[in-house]
Amino acid sequence: MPLKRRKHRLPYPAPPVSSHRQPAQHSRTPRRIAQPDSGSGKQPHREGGRRSSSPRLASAMGIGYVLGAIGGALLVHAAYATIQYRAVLKITEEEFSHPPFDVIIQLLVGLALCMWAGVSVPAKFLSVLPHSEENRIVSLPANLDFMIFNHRGRALPSDADLKLKI
C-alpha cells in the first residue's frame, strides 16, 4: 500500500513526483517529460555535429572527422598526381594550363567532403531565444522543503506561462 501524500495546497502546480514505484498491474501511458533539445527529430543529415547523446552512430561526431580526413587524403593524392603530371609535361616540354580531368574531379570531391565536414563538425548551434525549450530560465532546485512562496512577490505581475524545469 503506497504512502498517502499530503494534500497539495499551494498555488503553483504540483511538481511531478519521480519517486513513485510503478504498480505492476497498471499500464501507464508514458509521461511527457520535456527533454532538452531533442524535440526536433527532423535532422536527417546532420549527425556529424551533434553532441553524442544519440547512440545511433558509434561516435556521433566521428563521421564528420572521418569525412574530413577522407577529403584531406583525396586532396593530398590530387596534389601528388598534379606534381607527377607536371613532371611529364616538363619532359614533353608543354605548357601547364590545368590539371588532368580526373585530378580535377578528385579535387572537387575532396573539396565537397571537406566542406561537409567543415560545416557539420563545429559545435551545433544553440538557440538564443530566452523562451525556447532549451533555454528555460525558471528551474526548481532539488529540495523544495525550504522554499517559501508566501512573500511580497505575490504582488508582482506574474508571467502566467513560466515553465517549470525540475
Binding site: G71, L75, T82, F96, M115, S120
Partner: protein, 107 residues
C-alpha cells in the same frame, strides 16, 4: 522587467558567442581547404579570389542549412551568418593558396 515593449530583445549571450565561434571555425577551415584546392588547381590572380568568394557563398548556404533557415533563433542578425569571418578567412586562403601552389607547381 516585462519582456514586452523592450527596445533591446533579450537573447542568451553565451549561446550567441558559441554560435559565432562555431561559424568562425567553419569559415576558417573552409578557407584553408579552398586555398589548398586553388593552389593545386593552379589558379593565379583574379581567378583565385573569385574562387574564394564562391567557396564563401557555398559556405554561407551550408551554414544557413545548419541553422535550419531560422536565423533569428540562433543569431541576432542576418549579417552575422553571412559576413562574419569572410575577410579573416581571406588571409588564410591566400596563405594556403600560395603554399600549395609553391609545393605543387614550383618545387
Amino acid at each position: 522587467m516585462a519582456a514586452t515593449g523592450d527596445d533591446v530583445p533579450i537573447i542568451q549571450a553565451e549561446n550567441l558567442t558559441s554560435n559565432v565561434r562555431s561559424i568562425l571555425y567553419s569559415r576558417t577551415f573552409l578557407s584553408i581547404t579552398g586555398g589548398v584546392v586553388a593552389g593545386i588547381w593552379g589558379f593565379t590572380g583574379l581567378t583565385g579570389f573569385i574562387f574564394y568568394f564562391l567557396i564563401m557563398m557555398v559556405a554561407s548556404l551550408g551554414l544557413l542549412a545548419k541553422s535550419k533557415f531560422s536565423v533569428h533563433s540562433y543569431f541576432d542578425s542576418w549579417s552575422r551568418i553571412l559576413v562574419e569571418g569572410v575577410f579573416g578567412g581571406l588571409m588564410s586562403f591566400v596563405l594556403f593558396w600560395t603554399f600549395a601552389y609553391d609545393i605543387v607547381h614550383i618545387f
